[in-house]
Symmetry: C2
Subunit: 419 residues, 2 copies
């Protein structure tokens, strides 16, 4: 059986550990020389395939590939780009086949979240619908933790650890100053549709009163009165209150809190930011001194405080993807299968791409407390192992040794792609 080349690309929002999956794919592919010749990475996701911008990963040093395990962001570039269906946009698929043929590519690994697995699924149909022999395996990744079938999504555990550590630290800061200064601290985290990241902050709450006191989820309609009552009560009891709010927190009518009318001096709606909106509300209604933070990209790039569990799973799923492919399994995505909560034990499984694509796994109701403003013990049991373990990058001159690859491109063989 002759060996063919593999295409690997990164798609959607990047994470602290998506490059660990890349390392898993590249290092594992090297163990199957009878099946896989070289791994070509797409520059900026699927665009790299369409535009024939292919990076020869065999020209990177083994040390640099190993360093991907400790490097956040997307080492090959990522993209937000969704293929239409084969019926709608046949020429795009013909182009993909043309590029794959030109570079002897018969394996396709696409590393992304729900939208990206939709792309993986469409590419996996090439063999059946257009007769091009390709084996396509998705590699899961999303900080939103909203992929179905898998116990969790690589990237989430590290973001979860970042937000839990950050709110733990900030809540201690507020507690030590509250007698004469700030009484309420509000931290905004990502999660437009699912509250997993906000929920993870709850892991920092302990019997000593540290961590967040209130969490606002996208899954729970914002009840202004109940929220303010809880904040007021906690400030009276503890002297201060720490709050974590999902960017996707919304009113019962579906309006995002972040969109609730903040205007600049010119009357233009202001860009994002639910934390200042919540802070303003508390200031006006409860007259308390507040501070707020917006984590934004810091949370999804924070490899310096990455979860060891998360990194290991990201790597394992890259590895599993290659193993599935060389065994001839098409149109699947490897998954994490939890076999025990404590100690956490897991293995890998797989799910059909057709069922993965475009499904959003939200927080189940029993993970949210009855008042809608915190997590339950069941949620803690689920989340806790995902942030376990530290896995620090090495440092020079006080900064992490994150790798930037050489990214040597293959010579193009085709005419430029015209959309």
């Amino acid at each position: 059986m002759p060996a063919y080349n593999a295409f690997y690309a990164q798609s959607g929002g990047v994470t602290p550990v998506i490059n660990a999956s890349a390392a898993g794919v590249i290092q594992t592919a090297a163990q199957y020389p009878d099946h896989i010749n070289k791994v070509y990475a797409g520059q900026d996701g699927i665009l790299g395939a369409l535009y024939e911008e292919l990076i020869d990963t065999s020209l990177e040093s083994p040390e640099d590939i190993e360093a991907l395990k400790y490097t956040p962001s997307g080492a090959f570039g990522s993209c937000r780009y969704k293929l239409k269906s084969i019926d709608e946009h046949r020429s795009q698929y013909e182009r993909l086949i043309e590029v794959f043929k030109a570079h002897d590519i018969r394996y396709f690994f696409y590393n992304g979240g729900g939208d990206s697995q939709d792309t993986s699924h469409k590419v996996s149909q090439l063999s059946e619908q257009m007769g091009y022999p390709i084996t396509c395996v998705g590699v899961p990744k999303t900080i939103d933790n909203d992929l179905p079938f898998t116990d969790c999504s690589p990237g989430f555990g590290s973001v979860a650890k970042y937000v839990a550590v950050s709110i733990l630290e900030a809540s201690m800061d507020v507690a030590s100053m509250s007698s004469t200064s700030t009484k309420v601290f509000v931290m905004e985290v990502m999660g437009r549709h699912a509250g997993w990241i906000a929920a993870a902050s709850g892991l920092a709450a302990d019997e000593r009163g540290l961590g967040p006191d209130v969490i606002l989820f996208p899954e729970v309609d914002f009840d202004k009165r109940a929220f303010l009552q809880k904040v007021d009560r906690i400030v009276k009891e503890k002297g201060q209150c720490s709050i974590v709010v999902s960017e996707g927190a919304k009113y019962p009518d579906g309006t995002f809190l972040a969109d609730s009318g903040v205007k600049d001096a010119f009357g233009h709606a202001q860009l994002g930011g639910v934390a200042p909106v919540v802070t303003q509300l508390i200031k006006e209604e409860l007259d308390l001194k507040c501070h707020w933070a917006v984590c934004d990209y810091l949370q999804r790039a924070a490899r310096h405080i990455g979860s060891k569990t998360d990194m290991e799973q990201a790597y394992a799923l890259g590895k599993a993807a290659v193993e599935l492919a060389v065994n001839g399994t098409n149109a699947v995505m490897p998954t994490i299968v939890r076999t025990n909560d404590s100690p956490y034990e897991w293995t890998t499984g797989h799910a059909p791409l057709a069922e993965v694509a475009n499904v959003e796994e939200k927080m189940p109701a029993h993970y949210i407390s009855d008042d809608g403003l915190f997590i339950t013990d069941a949620c803690r049991t689920y989340l806790s192992p995902l942030i376990e373990g530290e896995d620090y990058p090495s440092y020079s001159n006080g900064l992490p040794n994150y790798v930037v690859l050489k990214k040597n491109k293959l010579e193009k063989k085709l005419a430029p792609f015209e959309e």
Copy 2:
């Protein structure tokens, strides 16, 4: 010579390493039993002395005192409270003497920034002006790095490391997504009057194009046109641009950018946040997709990424304060004296409190590039050693083992204080 008790307290905004100074004071005091009996910590700074809220640190376990080196925030509580002068408010000083006498306190260690060293200075005058024999030594601390005489201020190095690591990571995120998504990232950091923290982000800039491209300092009047031109040029050259802005960035007329008219739906001025203002400007003028983050308390509580150099200096200054006091030196503050840039070598010295109090050390002009929008090599040389070294806390269940002390209070001997 009989031994007396010592008062120690934390004042002003807390830092990732102020508790390391506390450990330095407490552990060193134990080495001078002929001079110092017990260390009583004030609950919430000087308020603890006024209200006779005194914590007996001898009742904490040695392990917990050692753990202070790895615990952010103010373990004994801090305060924002400035004593008036002895002439203006003699009764406050009489109360202090009353409390000190009641608890046999003749050493006073006050751990804070410029305002707090003003308090230290006033207390140091008690012996001369009111005849109470007290030895008063300030312990420097401020993330703002604006104390005079010392090479740097404990707390700053860790915040500097946090912002440099954070913008490094975020800039990599943006670089990997910019072909189809965010082009500009804006990160807001602390520093209302001095741009040291913003400057430290510049350490992440390297020959690979990572780190921040533009820095806005409070020391430089905001030039909208020059700023937008630079951002536009960088986006055209690199494909994306990362910006760090001090909360204190201001227009030539002295108005803070953060106060430049952002109103909520009700027409109220919105709480803080210069990052969204800068982002809005870029969006409107350059029509680029932007994201922004506000670090706020996360930066000054982030012990998880503390600088080893900073922690060692914070501890050394607590130790030096006690050594100065037992040698009978009153009314001083120990300082860091740099003896070599690379490798960084330092020792401790001291400065008179009378000259330290209320002086703000801003960024010197030669640390800021000619265009006013970045740091110079001289600045890098100064800043680089301050973020050197990692010094991680231990972790359990994925979270740092930060200590919360027992804080046993002394029995009160006096009538309640009435302001």
